[in-house]
């Protein structure tokens, strides 16, 4: 239906051009930091000091990347952020899988097997999405100590699972609420049990929400800094903490190109996820906020 009245007067054409100009200007604003980061990360130090922020590198080099990965100092050690990059994966992957699985089962139980008080239970759990984590930091530190998990990867995984469940449960609950209950009721009459129904009926239709949940949790946990800095040890730091240490380590000359390369390395996994699955990323962000 192209019945929006559009007059092609010169004035309208000018307006159209202004519109595109504004949009492109905005795009440049969002792109600027990434472009500058990338350019700085492949310039030698002399060029950084002499040239402008946006100047193209005259002698592009990947040395800053290599240094950021394997040699740069993060606090007392000078082993780069490569090890911490893998640390982050070692924390993120189990935490994402466990919290998504628990969230899926919770959402299923809360929607298809309602019982007295299940809505109240959901409301109580949902509150975990909103608390400022500062309010649990100190007790958590002490509890991790009691459990013998202080400064360990397992401890960080536990923390991320515990505070991720609220979100994953919300995702799956809101998704499964739309699955017709007659379907599950029929399966119950046929004698199928709780897990069988989940496996055979709910899980096969869950692909979209699984992707949303995995991406949301991956981004959240990868980007986490607060838990990482509060509960990790020297060997178990996630990459965000290592990046912050690297940037704030002041030994000798400040190597901006290495800082930027390290920032790019820390940013790459979530950027890749965003580029590959942006649609689902947006859906996770808006889940529950637009629908209310």
């Amino acid at each position: 239906m192209a019945n929006v009245i559009r007059r092609q007067t010169p004035l309208a054409r000018l307006g159209r051009m202004a519109l595109y100009a504004t949009l492109i200007l905005a795009a440049l604003f969002y792109l600027l930091p990434l472009v500058v980061m990338l350019l700085t990360s492949i310039k030698p130090l002399e060029e950084i000091r002499a040239g402008s922020l946006l100047a193209l590198p005259l002698a592009p080099t990947l040395e800053p990347w290599a240094k950021a990965w394997g040699e740069a100092c993060t606090g007392m050690r000078c082993e780069g952020i490569g090890g911490y990059f893998w640390n982050s994966f070692a924390i993120v992957i189990p935490a994402v899988l466990i919290s998504t699985l628990i969230g899926a089962l919770n959402g299923y139980a809360l929607t298809q097997w309602r019982f007295k008080g299940s809505e109240l239970l959901f409301a109580l759990m949902l509150f975990g999405c909103f608390i400022p984590f500062q309010v649990v930091l100190l007790p958590m530190a002490q509890t991790l100590g009691w459990l013998g998990l202080a400064s360990s990867r397992a401890g960080l995984i536990l923390v991320h699972v515990v505070f991720g469940i609220a979100f994953t449960t919300l995702f799956f609950r809101n998704f499964y609420v739309a699955v017709p209950r007659e379907l599950v009721a029929a399966a119950k009459l046929d004698g199928a049990g709780f897990f069988r129904i989940f496996w055979r009926i709910l899980l096969p239709v869950s692909a979209p929400i699984l992707v949303v949940s995995v991406i949301w949790q991956f981004t959240q946990i990868w980007n986490d800094f607060l838990f990482g800095v509060a509960f990790s040890g020297h060997d178990t730091q996630p990459v965000t903490v290592a990046l912050n240490n690297l940037v704030n380590t002041s030994t000798g000359v400040k190597e901006y190109n290495v800082d930027m390369a390290a920032a790019m390395i820390a940013a790459l996994p979530t950027l890749v996820v965003y580029v590959l699955a942006g649609k689902y990323f947006v859906r996770g962000l808006t889940a529950g906020s637009v629908k209310g």
Partner: protein, 311 residues
């Protein structure tokens, strides 16, 4: 008991009146599955909140102690200059951050809604910062705002010798650098929220207004934006939430400095509880942060529930 079990096996099917253990287990299974999560949320969310509250009533310093001093830590907090700087900064930062994100997000969404070519690509560009860690954002902007080598130097290099943009090292302006970086990161997200809202509005309303001869800006201001009230509402809630929790951005961009000029409550809490051996005071500040979140959340949830009942 074993006897009755064997007879039931002989009969071949259990009496309908009495559920078998297996059936009873099935009936309880949903509750059993939810139990661990409920227990975890009870302990780790509600229990820990209570625990932090208890700590805030003690004179804990380096280690938690349980010598109760009543609300003395809250009184100390109220008398603490750094806390007031942090709280004032939060109001400034939060207010500006929310306002600019809303205006920019709404504007970009409306502009993008004009049948733009390459809309998808532009949307992707506007939104990608949201995928980054606030630490990465902070590191990137710290470099851009570096007075001697960043944007200031670049503009001077273009010939504007008198150009000054040293907010990062200026105690009066450092908090605004947080606004810039946070807006950069989150405004695309607000745009996505508004765009989704705009796409949900019935075209016929706009067409009717157009036939009445209303101009496009007027239509948006008087007809479309009022329809987007719920979007504004949720955006404000999410942004306020981000603002109160802002910790990583401050750490990476300004480090709370110069001095403590750009401290926020989140960094205040962390510094006192973990670095300055002031667990009692840190706990008190954490409780006030929780109070801040509740003050935003409760009215929101209340109106949500009410509108759901009426709608």
């Amino acid at each position: 008991m074993p006897l009755s079990l064997s007879t039931s096996r002989e009969v071949g099917r259990p009496a309908a009146a009495r559920p078998t253990p297996a059936a009873r287990l099935q009936a309880w299974l949903p509750r059993l599955v939810l139990a661990p999560s409920a227990a975890v949320s009870l302990c780790f969310v509600y229990g820990f909140m209570l625990w932090t509250f208890v700590l805030s009533l003690t004179n804990s310093r380096m280690l938690p102690s349980y010598d109760f001093v009543g609300f003395a830590q809250y009184a100390r907090l109220m008398a603490n200059d750094r806390w007031w700087v942090a709280s004032t900064n939060l109001v400034l930062f939060g207010g500006l951050f929310i306002a600019i994100c809303l205006v920019l997000g709404a504007l970009l969404a409306i502009l993008l809604d004009q049948r733009i070519r390459q809309e998808g690509a532009l949307r992707t560009l506007y939104l990608y910062p949201m995928a980054l860690s606030f630490i990465v954002t902070g590191v990137a902007w710290k470099w851009l705002l570096n007075p001697s080598l960043g944007l200031e130097a670049m503009v001077r290099g273009w010939g504007f010798e008198g150009f000054r943009f040293d907010w990062l090292v200026n105690p009066d302006m450092a908090v605004y650098t947080l606004v810039i970086a946070a807006v950069w990161q989150a405004s695309g997200f607000v745009m996505a929220l508004f765009l989704a809202g705009l796409r949900g509005i019935d075209d016929s309303i706009i067409k009717a207004a157009q036939l009445d001869g209303a101009s496009l800006p007027r239509i948006y201001w008087r007809v479309v934006l009022p329809c987007l009230r719920p979007v504004v509402f949720s955006a404000v809630m999410i942004l306020a939430h981000i603002a109160i929790k802002s910790f990583d951005l401050v750490v990476a961009l300004t480090g709370g400095g110069p001095g403590y000029a750009s401290d926020l409550p989140a960094t205040f809490m962390y510094a006192h509880a973990f670095n300055r051996a002031q667990i009692g005071l840190g706990s008190a500040s954490a409780m006030l942060m929780l109070g801040g979140v509740l003050a935003i959340l409760v009215p929101y949830l209340y109106s949500e529930l009410r509108s759901r009942k009426h709608g």
